[in-house]
Symmetry: C2
Subunit: 224 residues, 2 copies
DNA sequence: CCTTGAATCAATCAATCCATTGAATTATTC
DNA sequence: GAATAATTCAATGGATTGATTGATTCAAGG
């Protein structure tokens, strides 16, 4: 193997990696990905969820598909998009951590870094299972009711973030809360924890979201 | 927090993530990153290493810098670029794994998937340390001599990939070989293992590269 | 202070990307 | 098989990106 070949191989690999990275390099595609990660969705639905035009969403989805980030399946007259296999969540997770790291570095200079440290402190699946067993925490699902109905963690109560402030009374006062939503790169639960902390309620973040939980083969409840 | 705010926060986060992803979305920038990850380098050197023009390399480097992926430092009349802090390698690693996963899926359909499975099977740092202790393996550093001299794993022998085939006789026949180079997303060692396997020599890949080793605080030798 | 070497800036052009529009496919249903 | 609903294709124009060139800044040394 000549050094020429090696350089070509390097370039080929990097070109491949770059193409994937570029595919992730659009806020709209990331949004689509996030929604697709919740389960199979039609193009129309995804367009609605993201506020894009149908044609535009379709094109972005095809872009994602070309790079094997999503898969399609036909269901009657609609096409359902779902997340492709492979460690896609790992990439998004690593990206998010990197972004958070960078943001933290900036903030630690500008702001007093006040609850910054605490904010990022999540609870792991293992710890959660442990604490659920002796029921020392309450699980809070902050996704929209609709998604909650499609499946949620066992024992979780559902209060969408939008209505959280009006429903604080529904929360148990003596338990610590653990909030979760769609995954590590979903801000719903982060917002929720912020809100709760401001009200003086103890709340933490689950490291994972519903998709991760399901993927890990753990039990899931459906319905309201 | 209204649902409007949440959507804005979502969008802001995704825009941030997308920007980082876009920055990684160019083969040339990935190449620069890879070289920069080896240690501080001047613009001219990096241009030379990647085959880019100086001005072009400079611009790409600045792009990387704007997104906090590299840092600069002045040394006399030259500017040295080095890798910024944060989990950058995790992102690249996850990306590489995703790409490999996708490639594996394609190959498993097209080709007979022959040594594909084996190719990806790396040896971990822990296992390596173990096997080095009872010296049942030989470590092979396949980077250029120059980089080897700047630092390498203890006990490693240096045969750059370019000259590997001509120097097979230098290899111990009874030991299994473990090849490593610049990191998980460096193809040098993969090429080397391929070459060796074709010659019927047992060889495996180290999961990590020299930078990871150093970062883990393990001992390092310098000189030739 | 002027020269030299190293890096960056500014301006340009080609190539690509993104959103929009309206037409064309595809599978279903009557 | 015609009508319909869902998605995709094709074409357009505006914005962004990437590489190249030449000029400019910046630090060091005579």
């Amino acid at each position: 193997m000549s050094s020429m070949d090696i350089e070509r191989a390097q370039l080929a690999l990097f070109t491949e990696l770059a193409e994937i990275a570029r595919t992730l390099g659009s806020p709209h595609r990331l949004m689509l990905l996030q929604h697709v990660a919740q389960g199979a969705r039609s193009v129309e639905r995804l367009a609605e969820l993201t506020g894009l035009s149908v044609a535009n969403a379709s094109q972005h989805l095809q872009h994602l598909k070309r790079n094997n980030l999503v898969a399609t399946e036909r269901d009657g007259k609609r096409v359902l998009y779902s997340l492709a296999g492979g460690p896609i969540n790992e990439v998004l997770g690593a990206l998010t951590r990197l972004a958070e790291h960078q943001r933290a570095e900036i903030h630690s200079v500008i702001s007093d870094s006040f609850t910054q440290r605490e904010r990022l402190e999540g609870i792991s699946r293992e710890e959660l299972l442990e604490r659920l067993r002796d029921s020392s925490v309450t699980l809070l699902d902050v996704r929209p009711q609709e998604e909650f109905a499609m499946g949620h963690l066992p024992g979780a109560i559902n209060i969408p973030v939008e209505v959280l402030e009006e429903h604080l009374s529904m929360l148990p006062q003596d338990h610590e809360l653990v909030a979760y939503c769609r995954g590590p790169h979903c801000v719903l639960s982060t917002s929720a924890v912020d809100t709760l902390r401001k009200k003086g309620i103890k709340a933490r973040l689950l490291d994972a979201g519903f998709p991760e939980w399901k993927a890990a083969g753990l039990t899931v409840e459906t319905g309201v």
